[in-house]
C-alpha cells in the first residue's frame, strides 16, 4: 500500500457515496495505492465492495458462477476506468466516484448479460414446473406456489423500462438510499423517487394484482 510520505501517492480523493470519516480515508488510500501499482490494495477494495456488487449482479445471473464472473468484470472495469481517468487527468478536483462507477458498471453489465442470455434461450430463468403443483404435501405446495409467484414478479422486474428497473433494483437489491440511487444514475433524487413509484405501478400491471 502506498505510504503517504513516499511521494508516489497521486493527488486523489475518493467519493465513497455514503460512508464518511475513517472509512472514506481508508478507501481513498487504497485506491490511490492501487493506482500507483499496489495490486494488494485492489484485493482490499474488492473485499470492501463485493457485497454491494454481488447484490446488484445476481439478479441478472443464471448461476452463482455467472454472478461471480459479472462481479469480477465489474471490478476490473471500474479500476480500469479509474486508471484511465488518472492518466488523462479528467478527474474533477481529483475526486474518484469509485462506488458510483461500480454501481453503474454492475447494472450495465448485468443488463447486457441478461440480453445475451435471452438471445440464446427462450426459457424462463426462474421457471417452476407447473405439473409439480398438487403433487406435493400442502405446505410444500403453498411454498411452491409462492416461489412461482415470486419468479413471475422477478421476471416482470426484468421487463420494466430501463430507468424504472434500475431505480427499483438499486433500492431493493442494494438497499441504497434514494440520494445515492440518484447520484449513481445521474438523475435528481425526486426523479428517482417518482421512477420507483412508476416501477411499482408498472409491476402491478405486469403481474396482475390478483396474483399477489
Amino acid at each position: 500500500m502506498a505510504d503517504e510520505g513516499d511521494g508516489k501517492r497521486p493527488l486523489l480523493r475518493v467519493v465513497p457515496g455514503g460512508s464518511e470519516g475513517s472509512a472514506r480515508r481508508e478507501e481513498e488510500a487504497l485506491l490511490a495505492a492501487f493506482l500507483v501499482g499496489d495490486d494488494e490494495a485492489f484485493g482490499a477494495l474488492v473485499r470492501r465492495h463485493e457485497k454491494l456488487v454481488l447484490s446488484l449482479v445476481r439478479r441478472y445471473a443464471r448461476t452463482p458462477e455467472d454472478a461471480r464472473d459479472l462481479a469480477q468484470r465489474t471490478f476490473l472495469r471500474a479500476f480500469e476506468a479509474a486508471r484511465r481517468a488518472l492518466r488523462r487527468g479528467v478527474l474533477e478536483e481529483g475526486a474518484v466516484p469509485f462506488r458510483r462507477w461500480l454501481i453503474r458498471i454492475a447494472v450495465n453489465l448485468g443488463k447486457n448479460h441478461l440480453r445475451d442470455a435471452l438471445r440464446f434461450t427462450h426459457t424462463s430463468l426462474e421457471s417452476v414446473p407447473e405439473e409439480r403443483l398438487g403433487t406435493e404435501p400442502p405446505g410444500a405446495a403453498a411454498a411452491l406456489e409462492h416461489a412461482q409467484r415470486a419468479a413471475r414478479v422477478r421476471a416482470a422486474v426484468l421487463a420494466l423500462p430501463r430507468r424504472q428497473r434500475e431505480v427499483l433494483t438499486l433500492r431493493v437489491d442494494a438497499e441504497l438510499p434514494f440520494a445515492e440511487v440518484a447520484a449513481a444514475l445521474s438523475i435528481t433524487e425526486n426523479a428517482a423517487r417518482v421512477s420507483f413509484h412508476h416501477a411499482l405501478q408498472k409491476l402491478k400491471a405486469l403481474v396482475g394484482e390478483d396474483s399477489l
Binding site: 485492489f42 422477478r154 437489491d173 434514494f178 417518482v194 420507483f196 409491476l203
Partner: protein, 169 residues
C-alpha cells in the same frame, strides 16, 4: 380515489420500500390512519416488494463467490502481463518501423537518382529543335545526282578517268 390519496401515492410507494422518514412519513401515517383503501394499497405494495426481493445467497452461491477477491486480483495481474507484452511488442515494432523508415530515407536518393530525371525518349524528340544542317546535308544527296551518276560517286569518277586515258591525255 380521493385527490388526497392520489397526492400521496408516491409517498406510499416509498413507505412500502422503507424509504420514508421525517415529515413525509408523519403526513402519510396521518392519512393512512383514516383511509382503509390506502392502507390496503400500501400492504399490497409491501407484499409486491417482498416478491421482488431475491432470496438470500445459498451455500452454493456463497461457495462460488468466496474467492472473488483472489480471482479478481489474478485476472488483474494477467491483464497487466498481457498489456506489458503488447507494449513490448508495440515498442519493438515501432522501433523496427522507425529504423526501416530512416534507412529508406537515406537510400532513396541513391535508389531513385538515375531514374527520376530521365524523361521519356519520345517526349524529348518531340521537343527538340530540328537540325537544319543535317537536313541540308541529306537533301544535298539529291543535288549530287546531277554531277555524278545517280547510283553513286565512285562509278562516275572511274568512267571519267577511262575517257581521259582513251583521249590520249
Amino acid at each position: 380515489m380521493k385527490p388526497e390519496c392520489r397526492d400521496l401515492e408516491v409517498l406510499r410507494s416509498l413507505a412500502a420500500a422503507g424509504a420514508l422518514d421525517g415529515d413525509e412519513a408523519a403526513r402519510l401515517a396521518a392519512h393512512l390512519a383514516g383511509c382503509p383503501a390506502c392502507r390496503a394499497a400500501e400492504q399490497a405494495d409491501r407484499a409486491l416488494l417482498d416478491l421482488v426481493k431475491l432470496p438470500p445467497p445459498g451455500p452454493a452461491e456463497a461457495l462460488a463467490t468466496a474467492d472473488l477477491p483472489a480471482r479478481a486480483l489474478a485476472a488483474l495481474r494477467a491483464r497487466g502481463r498481457r498489456r506489458h507484452a503488447l507494449l513490448r511488442f508495440g515498442t519493438a515494432g515501432g522501433v523496427a518501423l522507425a529504423v526501416a523508415a530512416a534507412v529508406l530515407l537515406l537510400l532513396a536518393p541513391v535508389l531513385f537518382r538515375d531514374r527520376a530525371p530521365e524523361p521519356p525518349a519520345v517526349a524529348q524528340a518531340g521537343w527538340q529543335e530540328p537540325d537544319v544542317d543535317a537536313l541540308w546535308t541529306e537533301s544535298a544527296v539529291l543535288e549530287l545526282s546531277d554531277d555524278a551518276a545517280s547510283t553513286g560517286d565512285t562509278w562516275g569518277d572511274d568512267a571519267l578517268a577511262a575517257y581521259d586515258a582513251w583521249a590520249g591525255e
